[in-house]
């Protein structure tokens, strides 16, 4: 327990230091945040334009989809804000930075997480939270009690894919392009009601690549739409747990790969 508290404290200390370093490049910071927000905003603008002509998409209204979109985006930002350093893991390995990580008395993943500050993800978070607040149905205590774990669970689902694939680069396998593709699939397909896809696609996005668990199922619960799910309502209520389970698994993969780390030749 004391070890976890120490790791969290040091995470915060190191991440703040990295942030201070990044903030020295002010123009770059601003542009990165804006680009992140515009990128996500343009994705939502598509939905908005389409629904200007067609008021319903898979049985969901514009407002409901905006809420779904916000939920997913917030979860995504929550996943990528701390994990954006994993994007450059190949580089850390090649440059020998990981050697230094292994030389310090602190969990290696915690150290890797603080190597970079994802400014673009701040833009994601802004857009996500704004959508979430603007489009939310009237809140009550029970909803908030479900929403918070739901966002965390969604973030963990995404995080587990990133972490397990990234850890392969500890053995010199470059999975950046594959991760980029999966990230794309999560962002694109996760932001729509699964009823739009139906059939095989919906099945795949639920049981093979659990995109539906990130935001669609929690949003269905919060918007009281569990009746049209392809799984029992109970599963939707328990959806945050999947993230916890998957992440535990992914962390095991990471530790395993770390044991096989071969360093670089320099």
């Amino acid at each position: 327990m004391a070890e976890i508290a120490r790791a969290l404290r040091l995470y915060w200390v190191l991440q703040r230091a990295t942030m201070r370093g990044a903030l020295q490049y002010r123009l770059n910071t601003v542009i990165s945040v804006v680009t992140g927000a515009v990128y996500q905003g343009s994705g939502f603008a598509f939905v908005w334009v389409v629904m200007h002509t067609f008021p319903s998409m898979g049985g969901w209204s514009l407002r409901e989809i905006a809420f779904l979109y916000g939920l997913r985006l917030t979860a995504h930002a929550l996943c990528m804000l701390p994990l954006s350093s994993l994007i450059g893991l190949e580089w850390l390995v090649r440059e020998g930075e990981l050697d230094r990580v292994l030389l310090r008395p602190l969990n290696p993943l915690v150290q890797v997480m603080t190597k970079r500050m994802g400014m673009g993800q701040v833009g994601d978070l802004l857009t996500g939270v704004v959508l979430l607040i603007v489009a939310a149905p009237p809140w009550n205590l029970a909803m908030i009690g479900f929403c918070v774990p739901a966002v965390v669970g969604g973030a963990l689902v995404e995080a587990s894919f990133h972490l397990s694939l990234s850890s392969l680069s500890l053995r010199m396998l470059d999975t950046r392009a594959l991760r980029g593709f999966l990230d794309d699939v999560f962002s694109k397909f996760g932001s729509y009601p699964m009823s739009v896809f139906g059939g095989v696609t919906q099945w795949v996005l639920t049981f093979v690549l659990p995109v539906a668990f990130v935001a669609y199922m929690p949003a269905s619960v919060l918007l009281d739409k569990t009746g049209s799910l392809n799984v029992p309502a109970l599963v939707a209520y328990g959806s945050p747990l999947l993230g916890v389970a998957l992440f535990a698994l992914a962390y095991r993969v990471w530790e395993r790969q770390l044991r096989h780390y071969q360093s670089s030749g320099t």
């Binding site: 200007h52 002509t53 998409m57 739009v196």
Partner: protein
Amino acid sequence: MIRPLAGMARVGLRFQLAYRSDVIMTVLALIAQVFLLRMVWTSVYGGAGQARGLTLEALLAYLSLANLQAFATTPIIPLIAHFRIRTGMVFFDLSRPTGYLPQMAAFQAGHTLGGLLMLAPAVPVVLLVGTITPTAQPLGYAATLTLGYVISVMMSLLICVIGFWTLETGAISLLYRLISQFFAGTMVPLSFFPGALGVLAEALPFKYMGYVPAAIYVGHLSGGQVVQAMIVEVSWIAGLAVLLWAVWRRAHRRVVINGG
């Protein structure tokens, strides 16, 4: 004059091919994107036969085409220029007798060619997903697309030149890519854009890189509209040429001052 440019184009081609393992994933992402659009649009159309003058079949064909076009013509030179300005390699480019802008344009052309080569295996899949049939206006399609490509390259060159002032074109070019793809109508045809947004999209030149050629292909635009589009495209090219020339002259003087 021609030989160095051909060399630059070859470098651009090789640059594209060097990243082919990444490109496999990008092509997969393209296919996923077209697939997603098809799902979403099919769902919202429901039983409706037509919306904004487009049948669902025509719309799906339009979307596949527009996305293929956008993929193949993605501008790369702002990123290249960014790198070369940062590392000072731009001075080699400037010292060659064939001007800087023609070199960059040649690089982009080679890169696009590489993109087309790489795209070849994906085309049948995308066409299948998007159900495309032969067009009734092949000439109009080819002409507007070619002119649209020229406009796109000129806009990218403009961003490259701006790099001499800002010394930073990486994030700007990403922003440009996002905005241009949105207003090119790669996800929604311009006819669906409501109110002021529609007026804006119609006024901007981005539509010639996606919407206009693709809409001509599926017959959404035809006859006089095609000719009119071509005239406006040529005017844009002329306007951009003047602008580029003026901005370049200032940029060049700036570079000389910096160097001296």
